[in-house]
């Protein structure tokens, strides 16, 4: 187990290296000159040149990459060109907001998606099942920004129950979480339904029935636990994506998270900031996947890691 964990943690290093490589060179293929953006439209070519040298952008790309890696090894992600603050500090300031929102959204999605999927699977082709199917279709196909704006109109403007944006109290969390969860809940419900349908037709479910167990025990203890592996996979992947920041939702609700930070940095061609935040996102994503893999072993005794 410990061996497995160590191996997996070591495997993160080449993944992150790959990310930096792709990211670094792709960024520099983007049109637009960061020095020009920083200096402003009115700046003279001489001023732009000075900034370029300051930022080290006058050197060849591979030298830039080497010095980036060198700083990375010393856990230094550089300084944001836009705010002149260390990148790590900027990310550190936004990350808790993103994690909080992602956690709320995924909890909400599981709390509704899994029961909905189970109920739909227990009574397939009944009205409940159709209701879940239709609701899921809505959830999956509704554009996030549209749903966000609609919720805002209803709950913030008309009813005035919840704030329309910003951060502070739990009330600020509700609308962005619901908006984010809508897609995920639908996804989880569909997945749960199909996994449960498959498990419910297994022989051991008939065995459980033949023992006279209560229907609730059969569904939760015997069936749902067996259906959990694919559900956990989906939940993990979705959570990983949410950690990368939900750009649209964060924008609609003025939520100061990682997603908006990345978009703002891209617009400003803030190389250090983009590199830093995407690298952190990559790290979080691989870590979430590792946790998901470890969870399998808890759910299914047949899975053991050596």
């Amino acid at each position: 187990m410990l061996n497995f964990l160590l191996k997996r943690l070591l495997a993160i290093i080449p993944v992150l290296l790959g990310i930096t490589l792709l990211l670094f060179f792709m960024l520099r293929m983007l049109p637009g000159d960061p020095a020009q953006v920083l200096a402003g439209q009115m700046a003279s070519p001489a001023d732009v040149e000075i900034i370029r040298v300051q930022m080290g952008l006058d050197k060849p790309v591979y030298i830039q990459y080497a010095s980036f890696l060198n700083r990375l090894v010393h856990l230094d992600l550089g300084v944001s060109a836009r705010t002149q603050n260390p990148v790590i500090e900027e990310i550190w300031a936004k990350l808790p907001n993103t994690v909080l929102l992602a956690l709320c959204a995924i909890t909400l999605a599981c709390a509704f998606g899994i029961p909905a999927g189970v109920i739909a699977a227990v009574r397939p082709y009944s009205w409940v099942d159709y209701l879940v199917t239709i609701a899921s279709l809505f959830g999956i196909s509704m554009p996030v920004f549209w749903l966000g704006i609609m919720l805002m109109i209803v709950f913030s403007i008309t009813l005035q129950w919840l704030p329309a944006g910003g951060i502070g109290t739990w009330k600020h969390l509700v609308l962005p979480s619901v908006t984010l969860a809508a897609f995920v809940v639908a996804f989880i419900a569909r997945m749960t339904r199909s996994c449960m349908l498959e498990v419910l037709s297994q022989d051991y479910v008939t065995t459980a029935r033949s023992k006279g167990l209560k229907e609730k025990a059969i569904i939760i203890k015997h069936a749902l636990k067996n259906a959990l592996i694919p559900i956990i996979t989906v939940v993990g992947l979705q959570f990983g994506l949410l950690l990368g920041g939900a750009v649209l939702t964060e924008t609609v609700f003025a939520w100061p998270g990682l997603g908006r930070l990345i978009v703002d940095s891209i617009l400003a061609r803030d190389y250090a900031m983009i590199q830093g935040s995407i690298l952190i996102f990559g790290l979080l994503y691989t870590l979430v996947n590792l946790v998901v893999d470890l969870t399998y072993a808890f759910v299914d005794p047949r899975i053991r890691y050596e």
């Binding site: 022989d203 051991y204 033949s210 023992k211 006279g212 025990a217 067996n226 299914d300």
Partner: protein
């Protein structure tokens, strides 16, 4: 064999239909038979003849939204088909239990075998966690699993097929049922393991008053264990006889065909194995008349037109075939 006059289980006119996209399929069509306390009844027939569906219908384990069950199943003075689902649930696993064919897939892979035995004990015998676990270990001991304390804490994938079938048997026996349906309990196992399981079932049968309905297509198993045999074909009972009479004096051509299909060990390697030509008819397109006539070597004109009546030759001896006349004397 202790046969009392009143049957423990009496199935009358059992008819089970499945509603499918292609139409209604009647898998069991008017099956009657009795099971007496303490006896082992063999229920024999090819795959798809309705043996398992009969057992599942009695225990009402078929999905009610897709099936219709008609007829009567009298057990302890009650018609099981009339009970409300909650009453039926309390009978399952306590007074009537079932052993399934596939030990590989019939146990839940993510629960320990001890827990799978203990949960019915907690439910039906109202034992607390500790007592239920102890009894589960005791049950594993009864089905002759070595080091039961260790095995109880293991998951099914750590156990061999024969061992899992022992667990299934322990599960079925745990609440002292009056009746066990054993649905092909040895089919999925190696021959040597089959013999062990049969020996175990026989051993457990001794000294208990539990009745077993042994569902199988293996006449060797029937010969060894059953005292009476009911032969089914295409959802109907075609013959019933005490086991010795069945092997010596089978009346129905189908039963005779089955008996002839048993390979003989002294048989010359070059001779073909006997078989009954053709296959079990598609239940959607049942032949007119006797459902066996397309495969029957002795079919007559009347067999193609009308289905034969059930002729009761004597007690526990009946056959449904036009070849059998009443000259045997009713009863």
């Amino acid at each position: 064999m202790k046969v009392t006059s009143d049957p423990l289980l009496s199935i009358k006119g059992l008819k089970t239909s499945f509603h499918t996209h292609d139409g209604t399929i009647t898998a069991v069509d008017g099956v009657d038979f009795d099971v007496f306390a303490g006896e082992t009844l063999g229920l024999v027939g090819e795959s798809g003849c309705g043996k398992s569906v009969t057992a599942l219908s009695v225990l009402r384990l078929l999905n009610p939204s897709m099936t219709t069950i008609q007829g009567r199943v009298d057990f302890n003075g009650k018609n099981l088909l009339d009970l409300d689902p909650e009453e039926m649930r309390m009978i399952r696993g306590s007074t009537i239990s079932m052993i399934f064919q596939e030990p590989m897939t019939s146990l839940n892979p993510i629960l320990t075998v001890g827990e799978q035995i203990a949960e019915s004990l907690r439910l039906h015998e109202k034992l607390d966690n500790k007592k239920a676990w102890e009894k589960a270990i005791h049950m594993l001991e009864i089905v002759q699993i070595p080091s039961p304390e260790i095995r109880a804490g293991q998951y099914p994938h750590k156990l061999s097929g024969g061992m899992r079938q022992r667990v299934m048997i322990a599960m079925a026996l745990s609440c002292n049922p009056c009746l066990i349906f054993a649905d092909e309990p040895t089919t999925a196992l190696d021959v040597t393991i089959q013999a062990q399981i049969i020996r175990l079932l026989e051993h457990l049968k001794k000294g208990s008053n539990t009745s077993i309905v042994l569902i199988t297509h293996d006449l060797g198993v029937v010969a060894q264990m059953a005292s009476r045999v009911v032969v089914m074909y295409a959802g109907r009972v075609v013959e019933e006889a005490p086991v010795v009479e069945l092997f010596h004096d089978a009346r129905h051509p189908y039963t005779r065909g089955l008996l002839k299909s048993i390979p003989v060990i002294t048989q010359d390697k070059k001779t073909r194995l006997n078989e009954i030509p053709g296959i079990v008819p598609n239940l959607l397109y049942m032949p007119k008349g006797c459902s066996f006539h397309p495969r029957c070597s002795e079919a007559m004109d009347i067999c193609k037109k009308e289905s034969p009546p059930m002729i009761h030759l004597k007690k526990n001896r009946r056959v449904s075939c036009w070849l059998t006349s009443d000259d045997y004397g009713e009863n």
